[in-house]
């Protein structure tokens, strides 16, 4: 049977039989296909579409288990051979790269020109054979963003052009390589966070920022009842905080850490000013020139030098959002259910992990109702295989009917990641 899938996709691109390690959130696949170009991606999708094969796109697979498990998978489309840096135009502060380009490698290229793509890779890992962590395409597909989203926004705010292949093999692009462009619909935004359910992104153009001369972090730990006041002070500061991160864990005082980037002298002085402001709130803060170990790390083991998260272990991981002034209350609720939360108090986005147990379902429900009441939402990004089926990953999604129609237009045969996205799309 495996032979038949390989045969069906024929000469479209390099492909091999899948192994158990290629399963997508527990759903096994027959084949792993690795197109080396947009054209090969198109040939592959055309074949899959014609033959009714289900395709799930994979970069480094760091977030492949996020969302609902797909209904079925025949082909895993591996983007990692499309990893070229197409262009880094220094004078224009833009770069174009293949979807399979690892963010870490892109960062190294860009740094040579004094630039950066301001996206914090929450799942960065070093692998012996090169950079692990997110690929550019994966970062777009999940709309990845970390602490510094408070400064420049999320991935959606940085992508200015995409090249992609529709499920039937049609190659198209949207946007371009200039930062300012309103010609036609902004499909880049539609594809950001679409979890590979609408089209296969093969090339991405992003806007860049200059690397700052210096970064300073102002860290403090606060009594829970002071948290709201401290966050308000920092978030509304005119010292231009580039990130305001908060971390709460059971039995530990909440930490608030603010990033100020700029010139050596400027960043230091701004950090000291902020520290002094916090002192007037009775809060002892310190200026650091390194980030705390948990900064921008999605699943940090806990304490400095703590044991790494065991390979393959999958805690209940949630993304919970709220209006800025609601963040303290949301954190309180997280603490009440013995959860850990790290996230951007400056943007209203928290990543929460919950301890395993029978009550997970109720806790998710409870946090979801609080998030929703506070103007946000809650998504179950991941959970252990035995727990996940009992959880509603996405919750109620406003505008779902329109989303269904968008999916129907782009992918009427449900070739791409069937069942993985909201509402079982």
């Amino acid at each position: 049977m495996t032979g038949s899938v390989l045969d069906l996709i024929g000469a479209a691109c390099q492909a091999r039989e899948a192994t158990a390690a290629d399963a997508v959130d527990g759903v096994t696949t027959q084949v792993v296909a690795s197109p080396a170009s947009t054209e090969e991606t198109s040939a592959l999708l055309r074949a899959c579409h014609e033959h009714g094969l289900a395709v799930v796109v994979r970069g480094h697979g760091t977030k492949l288990a996020w969302g609902t498990p797909p209904e079925r998978v025949d082909v895993v489309l591996d983007t990692t051979r499309m990893d070229a840096l197409v262009e880094h135009s220094r004078g224009d502060l833009i770069a174009t790269a293949g979807a399979g380009m690892p963010l870490a490698r892109l960062a190294a290229h860009l740094a040579e020109g004094g630039h950066q793509l301001v996206v914090d890779d929450l799942v960065a890992v070093d692998r012996p054979d090169g950079p692990g962590g997110s690929t550019l395409g994966g970062a777009v597909a999940t709309n990845l963003s970390g602490p510094r989203r408070t400064w420049v926004g999320a991935m959606r705010d940085l992508v200015i052009g995409v090249r992609f292949v529709r499920p039937d093999g049609t190659v198209a692009k949207a946007g371009g390589k200039v930062v300012k462009n309103v010609a036609g619909y902004d499909l880049s935004k539609l594809l950001c966070g679409s979890y590979g359910s609408l089209a296969v992104i093969t090339e991405v153009t992003v806007r860049l920022h200059p690397l700052p001369e210096a970064d300073r972090w102002v860290g403090t730990s606060v009594e829970p009842d002071r948290l709201a006041a401290v966050l308000a002070e920092v978030v509304q500061s005119q010292e231009v905080p580039h990130a305001v991160e908060v971390r709460v864990r059971p039995g530990v005082r909440p930490a608030v850490v603010t990033l100020l980037s700029g010139t050596e002298a400027g960043a230091t002085a701004r950090a000291e000013t902020l520290r002094d402001r916090l002192a007037t709130l009775g809060c002892e803060a310190r200026v650091h020139d390194v980030a705390p170990p948990w900064w921008g790390v999605l699943l940090h083991p806990g304490q400095r030098g703590g044991t790494p998260v065991p390979d393959g272990s999958r805690p209940v991981l949630l993304k919970a959002t709220a209006r800025l002034s609601g963040i303290p209350q949301l954190l309180e609720e997280v603490t009440a259910v013995q959860g850990t939360a790290t996230g951007s108090a400056g943007s209203g986005v928290l990543y929460v992990t919950l301890p395993p147990g029978d009550e997970v379902h109720d806790h998710v429900q409870r946090l979801r109702s609080v998030s929703t009441r506070l103007g946000g939402s809650l998504v179950v990004l991941d959970a252990p295989p035995q727990t996940k089926p009992g959880l509603d990953s996405w919750g109620a999604v406003p505008g779902l009917e329109l989303m269904r129609r968008v999916k129907q237009e782009f992918d009427p045969r449900r070739t791409l990641a069937p069942g993985r996205f909201v509402g079982g799309l």
């Binding site: 692009k173 400027g266 406003p398």
Partner: protein, 491 residues
Amino acid sequence: MTSAGSRGSVTEVLADLRGVVPERQLLTDPSELDTYACDGLAAYRVRPALVVLADSADQVAATVTACARRGVPFVARGSGTGLSGGALPHAEGVLLVTSRLRTLHEVRPQDQRAVVDPGVINLQVSKAANPHGYYFAPDPSSQQICSIGGNVAENSGGAHCLKYGFTSNHVLSLDVVTPQGEQVTLGTEAPDAPGYDLVGAFVGSEGTLGVATRATVRLTRLPQEVRTVLAGFASTDQAGAATSAIIAAGIVPAAIEIMDALAIEAAEKAVSCGYPAGAGAVLVVELDGSALEVEHEYARVEQICREAGTFEFRMATDAAERAEIWKGRKSAFAAVGRISPDYIVQDGVVPRTALPEVLRRMGEISAERGVRVANVFHAGDGNLHPLVLFDASEEGATERAEEVSGMILDLCIEHGGSITGEHGVGADKARYMPRMFTDDDLDTMQLVRCAFDPEGLANPGKVYPTPRLCGERPRVVQGAHPLTADGVEVF
């Protein structure tokens, strides 16, 4: 899409709306209709069959529902300042004006959000937020009159979008009436609402995906310090070199604007802005943020400008001086009326590094064709606003100006740019879209259109030169899933 022949009539829509929308808000008198015949691009004029002045989301929904039921096209309109004919009416359709929906529902500095109706004027949002230390960052030059609904539809920018982004970076959630008349909320006031980013798709869709009836927007903290610099140069080349050097120095100013000699002449005539005499170009740079960083950047910018050969360098520190510097720039479009009876405003974008080459080519085209072109541009992001000057009463002048205009757009596309940076495609530039996008690109964009508006009733004829027939599907090979030879249905 409903063919023109099978479209229903506005009379039926009118009958449906009687009793739902007060009579005085339904305009049918030709002379009244004529006041709505064009937007800011007066070269195109169409008298609509009916104007509905809605004053609630329910009235918007009732109007759209009636249009959907009767198969009548509708066009949304805010303040009518658009420069691409986006709000140009449809002769057999309804013009749905949202400018009476003017409630500023909430300003919540603690959440950095404001909730506003679509007819609220852009500047009003900042005015309401200022006392709390906040403002609404997108600042089109028309901000004293344009509406948030129009900003959302056009994804409007402004001089400060270089640093702060466009409307789409500042809209979190929208209430919209879909072209089928449903009222839905897209997004949440917190970022990253689950599902497709339909807010992202709606912003910039130029009224072709429905009508926005409420927006939740981001408010930005007012900067501690603002410094505005005006530097006079002998040529746009010098001013352009200074711009490149500023960017290369790792500085992201809030704004970098350039005006050429002809644009300066016009501004001088119109508002006596007192720009440096004899300048071949002026560069306006605005720096904002923390006082310390601004101080540092200012020193660098001054040094760079002097190295690039500025002969006059001024700085504004207070709001009054700042307004003085901006006066010439912000009045530039209208000012051109002082030196030419007619003009076309273009909005092409080129990569910043291509600016010198593109400006040089534009100069050549202008000389070759004997058509004057004044230049005002957002130099920081390569968004040009060439003003093509002509006198329509002169034989063939209009055609020549249009030809030059088209050549400029081609030039932008040739250099990897865009035909529009902020004014939108509208009715005016739809025919240029195929020069920038392939048929497949345009077809793909219109899949979104089909999802929202399968009948093609929302602002038809805009943005896309050729409408996609919704429901038309490429031929697919039908058959059982290959892995289930017994033909079990697997999808």
